[in-house]
């Protein structure tokens, strides 16, 4: 099956071509246009984002066609595609509409199947995508269920139980800020750039993660909920009360490392607890924050320690951030489970919750 995937839920415009043969990835090509413009603003600007998606999606579709069939010819590209998939939510409604409407229009014009895909489900399926070299860690025959998926990004912090492909139960989510947002806002308080995750992570390399004890809200609560909004307040007070130490060489790296540790500790503890409680075979990590090396290493080590039989799968670094390969992969698995969507009836759903 050959699928064109389109993703535009936030600030990256992305398209991908995925070919699946006998349950394995036979070919994956993708083009991403990141909106560098947002670095200036310290975040996503909705109207700018939508305008940028409108401007970028047509040329990256051409670039994708050129990669796949050797020429930027939409008609010829349409002839080799079996289905079109696009993200329908959750996300910024103005951004979502651009990619979704492009996908619907192509499916209609080409007379192909159409799949509206949940962005979070897409992130989970990034674990089935191969890296630049080599094979994917998972394919259709992988026996991984039941599984826990920890999805962490700028807009999301969710723990989901998967009993099979396309079957989700939301176990817990953040009660306020997302983990990636905690990184972004803490980074802003420290005077670092956007996105905050990589900025803090880089600075943290030279710091001591146990230097300062920042709060780990709900760490020992019985449930699987998260809360990160108190962390930025704690970081703010700490910086205010230690203003005179900014010039010390180790100070900011120590603050960054301690902040990162606080966020990672909570994510890991809840994921391990979810794996234990549900007796799962696999834990899947996904989302932009899944690229964080500290989170990857700590989660792997803690799972090994507490639930040694559980397999830990993390996405290739290149597929952690928003991309369209994951949308095409989720669509492939949806296509094995259900009928295509009617493109006439699909609308963007900015609050689409998976597993509720």
């Amino acid at each position: 099956m050959r699928i064109l995937g389109i993703e535009s839920s936030c600030d990256d415009s992305a398209v991908a071509y995925l070919e699946v043969k006998r349950g394995k990835v036979a070919r994956l090509e993708y083009v991403v246009a990141s909106q560098v413009i947002h670095e200036k603003y310290g975040g996503v600007v909705p109207e700018v984002a939508a305008r940028e998606h409108s401007a970028k999606i047509p040329p990256i579709l051409d670039a994708l066609a050129e990669k796949v069939i050797g020429k930027p010819d939409g008609r010829a590209f349409g002839e080799i595609v079996d289905a079109v998939a696009a993200t329908a939510g959750p996300g910024l409604v103005t951004s979502l509409r651009v990619g979704l409407d492009t996908g619907r229009a192509l499916a209609a014009a080409w007379d192909k199947d159409f799949y509206a895909i949940n962005h979070i489900e897409g992130h989970i399926y990034s674990n089935w995508l191969p890296g630049e070299k080599g094979k994917a860690k998972l394919d259709e025959s992988s026996d991984i269920f039941p599984a826990i998926a920890l999805v962490v990004s700028g807009g999301h912090t969710e723990l989901l139980l998967m009993k099979g492909h396309g079957q989700y139960k939301l176990l817990g989510a953040t009660a306020d800020d997302a983990a990636g947002e905690a990184f972004d806002k803490s980074a802003k308080l420290m005077g670092l750039g956007y996105p905050g995750g990589p900025a803090i992570s880089n600075l943290a390399k030279g710091g001591d993660p146990s230097a300062y004890d920042f709060p780990r809200p709900l760490l020992n609560s019985d449930d699987l909920r998260f809360s990160f909004s108190g962390l930025k307040t704690a970081v703010r007070y700490f910086l205010r009360d230690n203003e005179d130490r900014f010039d010390e060489k180790k100070f900011l790296p120590d603050v960054a490392a301690s902040t990162e540790q606080a966020i990672v500790d909570v994510l890991v503890a809840k994921a391990v607890s979810a794996a234990k409680k549900n007796g799962v075979r696999t834990v899947l990590l996904a989302g932009g924050v899944a690229a964080n090396p500290k989170l990857r290493a700590t989660l792997a080590a803690e799972l090994k320690k507490h639930v040694p039989k559980v397999r830990f799968v993390e996405p290739e670094l290149v597929h952690c951030t928003d991309n369209a390969g994951m949308i095409a992969m989720a669509a492939y698995h949806q296509s094995q489970l259900r009928k295509p969507d009617d493109w006439r009836k699909i609308e963007a759903d900015p609050l689409w919750e998976l597993g509720r």
Binding site: G43, V45, V48, G155, A178
Partner: protein
């Protein structure tokens, strides 16, 4: 007259007091730096309006809508809209996606964080602004007007 908030219970009490006087159509703007207590205030305000869901940060998707409690109907409140202008650079971005329609619904109470990024809000007769600042230690100071 600025009010000093010393504890989390003070914040809850303050939010509850504000909530009691709210009616459908009211718009509340919150102004203050990161960590000043805007979200905490909103969570308590929502609780007082009978919202049962978690009030998650709307930073990434601009606004979220919640159903108000059934006993709020007598005051004409069916919904709470929690908006966040943190990422807004130019307020026209919000107007162009139909924000005006959402916040002027007569059965809706709207709370807007980072409202100082939306200068036009002051033109709405139903708009009130609260400024959140830091006091001594962990105190917050809130002023209205």
């Amino acid at each position: 007259m600025p009010i000093t908030i010393k504890t989390i219970d003070d914040m809850k009490e303050y939010a509850r007091k504000i909530a009691v006087d709210l009616h459908g159509g009211d718009i509340i703007g919150l102004v203050g730096e990161l960590g000043a207590g805007k979200t905490t205030f909103t969570q308590f305000l929502a609780e007082a309006l009978g919202v049962t869901k978690d009030i998650k940060s709307p930073t990434f998707i601009l606004f979220r809508e919640y159903a108000a409690g059934p006993d709020l109907r007598v005051r004409g409140i069916l919904k709470l809209v929690h908006a966040d202008a943190y990422r807004i650079e130019d307020e026209d971005e919000l107007w162009s996606i139909g924000f005006d329609d959402i916040i002027t619904e007569p059965d809706t109470v709207t709370v807007i964080e980072w409202a100082d990024k939306l200068p036009s809000m002051r033109d709405y007769s139903t708009y009130r602004e609260f400024k959140f600042g830091f006091g001594e230690g962990e105190e917050r100071v809130i002023s209205c007007g």
